[in-house]
């Protein structure tokens, strides 16, 4: 058995993309003038499957798109919705922008932190939740708001937090 290739985006890393992920990325590439243009789409595709973009995933994507790992990482780290660290099974994003602020988001933040026993940016020990701040979710008429995974939740009430989080195990 030969040693795996040692270059940064080594051949041994290619299998870290599933055939479905590779196909979805290739589909994006086929609609774009060049492969590098699919960089963000590709990372989002992998993250939707795996929850985050690991170093191995990053290298595999870079190789598939024909770009350097460093260039791809510089793009990854620009975007707040691309996670370069593992996250919990559910990501809670609490709006901290102005309409929610006016409707008590700063107090709510403390209450959510207390309820989940997490500070902003942390993941619970059992891996259930990651808590993050997010900017205006475009539902300011229902402030304060948050997003849990893909669900937008308006009129978040501190009294009903247990109920709100119940479905997310």
């Amino acid at each position: 058995m030969s040693e795996p290739a040692q270059d940064l985006a080594g051949a041994d890393l290619i299998p870290t993309l599933s055939p479905e992920e590779t196909a979805a990325i290739e589909e994006e590439c086929s609609h774009l003038p060049d492969r590098e243009s699919a960089a963000i789409d590709a990372m989002m595709i992998v993250q939707r499957e795996r929850g985050w973009v690991s170093d191995a995933s990053l290298a595999a994507i870079a190789r598939l798109l024909g770009m350097s790992v460093a260039a791809l990482d510089s793009i990854a780290t620009f975007y707040n919705l691309i996670f370069r660290q593992p996250v919990g099974r559910h990501v809670v994003m609490l709006c901290d922008s102005v309409s929610c602020y006016v409707m008590g988001a700063d107090t709510l933040r403390k209450q959510v932190e207390e309820h989940l026993a997490l500070k902003m940016g942390e993941t619970s020990a059992d891996g259930r939740f990651t808590l993050l701040p997010i900017v205006c979710l475009g539902a300011c008429d229902r402030a304060p708001t948050m997003m849990v995974d893909e669900d937008l939740i308006g009129n978040v009430s501190a009294e009903r937090l247990a109920e709100t989080f119940k479905g997310y195990e």
Binding site: V98, V102, M147
Partner: protein, 435 residues
């Protein structure tokens, strides 16, 4: 929300069909309310120049914040041989990240075919072969609705090759964003669309000359495109009559904050601020008084009591020293500390700076820190003058590479003017009376 206004499609071209259907509008319902009739008319019996002229005559102005006349923007795109070889691009800015703004999501989730038809018309006008909707990453429901609409429209021959038998081809795809407010700035958006970091580009060249992948490109807001089908169907004169003052058409106005019924309404453009707040949003909640508003999102200057009878249109709000922006206003009531509200706003703008130029990258965090210090009782004599100076430097439109920094300073500079005693009191007493 806008539902239940009881408006007809003739009075409310943006939400009328949503009202008629009572919720999200599918393809069959859309078609039964004249849907895709404008696309059929334009692609089979109007020249691109005729479409552009009609949009110009209608005086449709961009609903993304700046109010640039849409028909004029479209006319900057080179046509025929002058365009060189390769595709032209039509891009919809559905990034909606201006804090306090919640209008585009409403249209995307409830009437996605209206956007698709608006984009077909825009594509015909500038002869674009490829279109993208640049969609906020967090807008999952909007993504599902819009993707379904695109698939249904393609299956029915409204997208793809030889649209409605006209010989015109237009492919429409969605780009789901990776986040960051600066992606809404149209040249940063183009970099993001190309898979790069969303740093704004040097202008000129402007996108109509050189945009996505170096090709002629038009970027318009969701609400802007959604205005186009009814203009093509009903004409410029009809569109003018919808508006009240100098501007034409309707506008999605929104109110958030401590009102009885926060929400979104499609009203004649130029509806007075007071009417929007009192009649539509139901006035302030009991026990709260209104002190100021940000009329069109976080990056617009505060307006105060003396302005509340003004018409919400581009010219009037600009004359009052602010901007209509996105038309969704944020209310500051008397339980809110103006210094702390500015701290919240400047935290957002400092965090969302792309980091390219110094006044924005370094100045905004400095401003935020000064505001934190003042709010927390550590303000010093001279801090207000320092804020004034920073506001002037950062806000000077030519000191930074894009308009993020000037926009960031608008609420602060106006708060320093209208609520100065609050700032002074914090420094004098070392305390915040709102805490």
């Amino acid at each position: 929300m806008a539902e239940g206004n009881g408006k007809t499609p003739a009075e409310a071209p943006l939400i009328g069909v949503i009202e008629a259907v009572g919720g999200a509008v599918g393809l069959a319902a859309y078609e039964s309310h004249e849907g895709y009739a404008a696309a059929r008319t334009a692609l089979t019996s109007m020249t691109p120049a005729e479409v552009i002229d009609l949009v110009k005559e209608a005086n449709l102005r961009g609903r993304g914040g700046a109010g640039f006349p849409t028909g004029i923007k479209w006319s900057f795109v080179p046509q025929g041989d002058a365009a060189g070889s390769g595709p032209k691009y039509l891009v919809c800015n559905a990034d909606e990240m201006e804090p306090g703004t919640f209008k585009d999501r409403y249209l995307l989730e409830r009437n996605p075919h209206l956007l698709v038809e608006g984009m077909i018309l825009g594509a015909w006008a500038i002869q674009a072969s490829h279109g993208y909707v640049f969609l906020r990453g967090e807008y999952h429901a909007a993504y599902r609705q819009l993707q379904d609409a695109i698939d249904a429209a393609a299956a029915k021959g409204y997208l793809g090759k030889n649209i409605v038998g006209s010989g015109f081809d237009f492919e429409l795809r969605i780009h789901r964003s990776g986040g960051r407010y600066i992606c809404g700035e149209e040249t940063a958006l183009l970099n993001a669309l190309e898979g790069k970091r969303a740093q704004p580009r040097q202008k000129p060249p402007f996108p109509p000359a050189s945009g996505a992948w170096g090709r002629p490109t038009i970027v318009n807001n969701v609400e802007t495109f959604c205005n186009v089908p009814a203009i093509i169907r009903n004409g410029a004169e009809w569109y003018h009559e919808l508006g009240i003052g100098d501007d034409a058409g309707t506008k999605l106005y929104g109110v958030s904050g401590r009102v009885k019924q926060p929400g979104l309404w499609e009203l004649p453009i130029g509806t007075p601020i007071r009417e929007i707040i009192e009649e539509h949003a139901g006035g302030m909640q009991d026990g709260y008084a209104l002190r100021g508003i940000l009329p069109g999102g976080a990056s617009t200057d505060f307006l105060v009591a003396e302005h509340f009878d003004l018409a919400m249109d581009y010219g009037t709000i600009q004359k009052a020293g602010s901007r209509m922006g996105t038309g969704t206003m944020i209310l500051m009531d008397d339980s809110i500390c103006p210094v702390d509200m500015c701290r919240n706003l400047e935290h957002f703008f400092a965090q969302e700076s792309c980091g390219f130029c110094t006044p924005c990258r370094e100045g905004l965090p400095w401003v935020e820190q000064l505001l934190i210090d003042i709010e927390e009782g550590r303000g010093k004599e001279g801090d207000l003058e320092l804020l004034d100076r920073n506001a002037a430097f950062i806000g000077g439109a030519t000191n930074t590479f894009c308009l993020h920094a000037p926009g960031a300073i608008e609420p602060l500079a106006s708060a320093l003017k209208y609520f100065r005693e609050d700032f002074e009191e914090h420094i004098r007493t070392g305390a915040c009376r709102y805490r």
